[in-house]
């Protein structure tokens, strides 16, 4: 049975065999017609591929598209950085505002607290001075609590059913 060197033919035509291997293939080719035909066919396949792909032209605007994509990406990155600066700027503005108007704000808050204390004091004084009014207040409070409990129970019943 003749041993064909078919699997070496591809590397042979690419010049990728050692000197010894190449000599073996060449001497085999001299006497083997089927391997000669196969080699011709493989060379033809290679040439067809080279020819077909050599004729493919890249799109003319590919380079412009790449540069445009790069510039778009850069712009997007800058815009994203800009958005990150917004909360930072807001925080900085608040800090500045606090230092600039902090004293005025503290005074207003202090005055408001004093006014509230005076109002609470006046209300309790008025209630203790008129006993009927305090009795009425207690009654009104009880009424509000009962109404609240009742409405809460109804609300819970409706949601569970």
């Amino acid at each position: 049975m003749t041993y064909h060197l078919e699997d070496q033919l591809s590397a042979y035509m690419d010049g990728e065999l050692t000197v010894e291997e190449r000599q073996q293939v060449e001497s085999h080719l001299e006497s083997c017609e089927s391997c000669q035909v196969l080699l011709e066919e493989l060379l033809s396949v290679q040439s067809t591929v080279i020819h077909a792909f050599g004729r493919i032209q890249e799109p003319e605007d590919l380079e412009i598209r790449v540069l445009q994509a790069l510039s778009d990406k850069k712009e997007r990155a800058t815009a994203e950085k800009g958005w990150l600066l917004v909360p930072l700027a807001a925080f900085v503005s608040l800090v500045i505002l606090w230092f600039a108007a902090g004293a005025i704000f503290a005074k207003v808050l202090h005055g408001f607290l004093k006014l509230m204390i005076a109002l609470v004091y006046m209300g309790s004084h008025l209630l203790s001075g008129v006993p009927v009014l305090s009795g009425l207040t207690v009654l009104l409070s009880l009424l509000i609590i009962t109404a609240s409990v009742y409405s809460l129970r109804r609300l819970l019943q409706t949601s569970t059913s």
Partner: protein, 177 residues
């Protein structure tokens, strides 16, 4: 091989020089595009992937250790992107069911002949398509392909032989049809 001029261009682009990078795109766009067409069998996808490959290259160029390895580095980027695109196609189950869009190049006198080679190549496995494109279209030698694909030279040799045998069969089918 990288000549001195190209070395300076790659070095400039690596330093962030956009003009130098534009020159690199001009020089390599044909290689990248043809490889993508061969892998994807679709002009539209090949355009997208080529663009994506160059954008990716621009942002990762600073990580390129050796300027002389730019060409194979670029090819690795486009190869990975093509494989990702093919995986995505397989997931969408469009790869075999629907024929890809193949717009005939108006500059080619015989578009049918060209189409048949691309179509035949598309019927091979991804590994087989890849070695044929890297060797016959891109002109890499076995040793370079082995490094690029991270496989032994023996694998490149046997893969290329099997790929050519399969392509021969596919082209013969095309001739019969």
């Amino acid at each position: 091989m990288v000549d001195a001029e190209l070395y300076h261009i790659i070095h400039g682009a690596k330093d962030g020089n956009q003009e130098a990078f534009a020159e690199l795109v001009r020089r390599y766009k044909g290689h990248v595009y043809r490889y993508a067409v061969g892998m994807l069998n679709s002009r539209m996808d090949a355009e997208d992937v080529s663009q994506e490959a160059f954008v990716k290259a621009f942002y990762s160029l600073s990580g390129l250790d050796n300027e002389y390895a730019f060409s194979s580095w670029m090819m690795t980027i486009v190869s990975n992107l093509c494989k990702d695109r093919l995986k995505k196609r397989n997931k969408e189950q469009d790869f075999r069911d629907e024929p890809d869009e193949c717009i005939a190049d108006s500059s080619v006198s015989d578009p049918l002949a060209k189409l048949s080679v691309e179509e035949s190549l598309a019927r091979l496995s991804v590994d087989h398509r890849e070695v044929i494109l890297l060797h016959d279209v891109q002109g890499y030698q076995y040793e370079e392909i082995a490094k690029l694909l991270n496989v032994p030279i023996g694998t490149v040799k046997s893969r290329l032989f099997t790929a050519r045998m399969s392509l021969r069969k596919e082209l013969a089918k095309e001739d019969q049809e």
